[in-house]
Structures are given as structure tokens and as C-alpha cells.
């Protein structure tokens, strides 16, 4: 699967296909005008979860994730690679994409509901939302 749906004539700007779950969650989750809580019948407890996800930004845990990502780097010391080759490696190996999982995990908790199988069966080719980011161009 490619996230690039309509790349025009070898351009570098990616145009991801719309409506992937990860995109939809990030784009719309806490957006839009709000109707008074005393009037509406339901509004899923979404705000809390997105706030939770943002709290992690300047914590020790976050720093440890950054340190881990930095330590995963395979620079020239090992195997005599220079930077250019290292860049190529990333595209091959998908190294270092797990960071940020906590946030995606929190968002996933919101929508990872009872209709997972349902979703799978309707669109069997669809990958789990978590791996979308690792799709290569």
C-alpha cells in the first residue's frame, strides 16, 4: 500500500489518500463548534483522551524516547557508513518509527472499538492504522 495516491509528474509533495483512520482521527477529533453539554444527548469522551496524549510532550519519558531514537542510529562508526548511506538505510529498514507510539496508542484507544473485525472484513486490504506512518512513499 502506498500513502501517495496522486503524485503529479515526479513531484515531491505527497498527496495521501483521504479518510485513512489515522488521518481522520488527527484531523477531526476535537474540532468543530460545540453544543451545550446540557442539551446534547451524547458526545463521546474524546477530549480527555486527546489531552492525555499531549501531556507527554515535555516529560522524562519523552526524553528517553528521543535518547532511544538517537541511540538506534547506525552511523559511520559501525560498518563504515557515511551519512548518505545511512539515510538510504532508513528507507530500507524502517528504523526508528516506533517513537510516538504512545500518542498513537492513546488515540487508538479512542476508536479501537468493537467493530475492528467489521472494519477488517469490509476492507480486507487495509493495514492496521498504526502502520500507516511506516508506509513508504
Amino acid at each position: 500500500m502506498s500513502v501517495t495516491s496522486q503524485r503529479r509528474g515526479g513531484g515531491y509533495l505527497e498527496r495521501p489518500a483521504p479518510s485513512g483512520l489515522a488521518d481522520v482521527v488527527e484531523v477531526i477529533l476535537d474540532k468543530g463548534i460545540v453544543i451545550d453539554a446540557y442539551v446534547r444527548v451524547s458526545l463521546v469522551g474524546i477530549e480527555l483522551l486527546t489531552i492525555d496524549a499531549r501531556i507527554v510532550i515535555a516529560s522524562v519519558d519523552t526524553y528517553l524516547r528521543f535518547a532511544e531514537a538517537t541511540n538506534r542510529l547506525d552511523l559511520y562508526e559501525k560498518g563504515g557508513k557515511d551519512l548518505t548511506e545511512a539515510v538510504g538505510d532508513l528507507q530500507e529498514s524502517g528504523a526508528g518509527r516506533k517513537v510516538g507510539g504512545a500518542i498513537k496508542g492513546a488515540k487508538k484507544a479512542i476508536t479501537g472499538g468493537d467493530d475492528d473485525e467489521d472494519e477488517e472484513s469490509r476492507r480486507p486490504a487495509k493495514r492496521p492504522a498504526r502502520s500507516r506512518r511506516s508506509s513508504r512513499e
Binding site: 513531484g11 515531491y12 509533495l13 505527497e14 498527496r15 495521501p16 483521504p18 479518510s19 483512520l21 488521518d23 488527527e26 477531526i28 477529533l29 476535537d30 474540532k31 468543530g32 463548534i33 460545540v34 453544543i35 451545550d36 442539551v39 446534547r40 444527548v41 451524547s42 458526545l43 474524546i46 499531549r54 507527554v56 510532550i57 515535555a58 522524562v60 519523552t62 526524553y63 528517553l64 524516547r65 528521543f66 535518547a67 532511544e68 531514537a69 538517537t70 541511540n71 542510529l73 552511523l75 551519512l83 545511512a86 539515510v87 532508513l90 528504523a95 526508528g96 517513537v99 510516538g100 500518542i103 479512542i110 476508536t111 479501537g112 472499538g113 467493530d115 467489521d118 472494519e119 506512518r133
Partner: protein, 259 residues
């Protein structure tokens, strides 16, 4: 998708077990209720009008609170479809009211002036979202090369078992996080300088992942859209070795209706 039933429920006399899901607000002149547009539970999108503004709604069962993946997707599909035909003010996902009378009283009548102003501002404009992701490996390698302390800490901690040298790891992560923050500011400024001449307004969003470079929503006039996309394409090419630039949209103007 097409509607599964041809008998439309009377929104002003709904049975007790049914409620009204609200997608957003459009101009009453919108003819969306004459199309086959469907939303949650494949229910047709209908209008509840009051004066010059109308809520785009669908009938849902009350005992079934929205919150599933496909509900989110349906909500955004309806709003994007509405945005493609005219201005729309999105209402927050998951909003269900008991009756059409509530929709008029609590949403339309009490805020008609505001809503009309917002619809006017959004007319002929669409939202696009630009997302920049670092090539994590390339940009972290830059950080290691540019800051000797990072390089030293990395050497000291990388081959130790997880949990050892906790203080060094935290310090390393802190330095890297701050270095990336500085890079983000610089790189995002390059993108913003390129596109700001072509947009009406912008709304940045937060991101906390290592590869996050920028995520900004833009409101773009229909007749500037080509110029906006060309400017982005040029900047995407210029930074493609370090950054993947993605353009999402056009979509409903989620980031330009307050809140």
C-alpha cells in the same frame, strides 16, 4: 453508497428511540438534502433549517452512542462532501440532539448571526493541512554531528543495557529534543514563508513524535489553490532529503471555526 430507504423520517416528530446527529451548519440554500449523501449508519443527510442557516443532520438510534471508527470516517466524509459544494461549519464529532426543535433552538437560532458570519468567511475557501515529517535518521544524524555533547552521551549510553545510565539518557534525550525543536522552527519557517502569500489564514497543530516537523492547517481561496500547491511542491523538492511533505485536503474547515 445510497440510502437504504426511500421513506424519510419526519424530523419534527421522531419516535422516542431516535435522535438527530449533527454534522455541521450550511446555508439554507444548500441542496444537500436532495442528494444521495449518507452518513452514520447509512442514514441520509437531511437539513433542519432556521432562517438562512441550516444544520446538516442524520437520524440515529439513541441507544447507540457514536464513537466507532466508521462513525469518525462517516462524519468526516459527510463534512468533506458538504465542503466541496459550499461553505460548512463543522460541529464537533459525536453530537446528538433529541429533536429538530432542539437543533433550531440550541444551535441555529441562538447563534444565527455568528454562523452566518462564519459561513461568509468560509465561502469559496477550503482547508488544506500540510504535514512535514522528518527523515528521522537524517535529522538525528545532523543533531549528533552538530552537538559534541550529544555525540559523547550517545557513545556512553548506546551499548549499555536499558535502564543503566538513566541520568545520561535523560540528558541525551533532552538535548536532542531541544535541538530538534530548533530545527523545526527553522524548517517550518521555510515552508511558511513559501505558502503564506497564498493563504487566507493558518492554524498550527502540536505534534510530539521524533519525526514531527510541522502540521499546519491552511484556509485557501479557491482561486489561489494552484499557486498554493505550486509553492508547496517547490519547497517539498528543496527539502526532500530531510523532510517528507504531505498535503491533505481539500477538507472541511475544521480548524477555522473557533474552539
Amino acid at each position: 453508497m445510497t440510502a437504504t430507504t426511500t421513506v424519510e423520517p419526519d424530523l419534527d416528530a421522531l419516535p422516542e428511540h431516535l435522535g438527530i446527529y449533527v454534522y455541521g451548519v450550511v446555508e439554507t440554500a444548500s441542496e444537500v438534502d436532495r442528494t444521495d449523501l449518507v452518513g452514520l449508519d447509512d442514514a441520509r443527510v437531511l437539513l433542519v433549517a432556521s432562517g438562512d442557516v441550516a444544520a446538516a443532520v442524520g437520524v440515529v438510534a439513541l441507544e447507540r452512542p457514536p464513537g466507532r471508527k466508521r462513525d469518525l470516517v462517516a462524519h468526516s466524509s459527510v463534512l468533506d462532501a458538504l465542503a466541496a459544494t459550499g461553505p460548512v461549519v463543522p460541529v464537533q464529532f459525536g453530537t446528538v440532539l433529541l429533536s429538530a426543535a432542539d437543533v433550531r433552538a440550541e444551535l441555529l437560532e441562538s447563534r444565527e448571526e455568528d454562523l452566518l458570519a462564519m459561513l461568509g468567511d468560509l465561502s469559496g475557501r477550503q482547508q488544506f493541512t500540510v504535514r512535514g515529517r522528518y527523515n528521522e535518521h537524517a535529522v538525528l544524524a545532523e543533531v549528533v554531528a552538530e552537538d559534541p555533547e550529544v555525540a559523547v552521551l550517545r557513545e556512553r549510553t548506546r551499548d549499555l543495557p536499558e535502564g543503566a545510565a538513566h541520568g545520561d539518557r535523560v540528558r541525551l534525550g533532552e538535548l536532542v529534543a531541544h535541538a530538534l525543536e530548533a530545527k523545526r522552527e527553522q524548517d517550518a519557517a521555510v515552508v511558511m514563508d513559501a505558502v503564506l502569500p497564498h493563504v487566507v489564514s493558518c492554524a498550527p497543530r502540536d505534534g510530539a513524535s521524533v519525526d514531527h516537523m510541522m502540521e499546519v492547517a491552511f484556509l485557501v481561496d479557491e482561486d489561489r489553490r494552484d499557486a498554493f500547491e505550486e509553492a508547496l511542491e517547490a519547497v517539498a523538492e528543496a527539502m526532500h532529503e530531510r523532510v517528507r511533505l504531505q498535503l491533505l485536503g481539500p477538507m472541511a474547515p475544521y480548524d477555522f471555526v473557533g474552539q
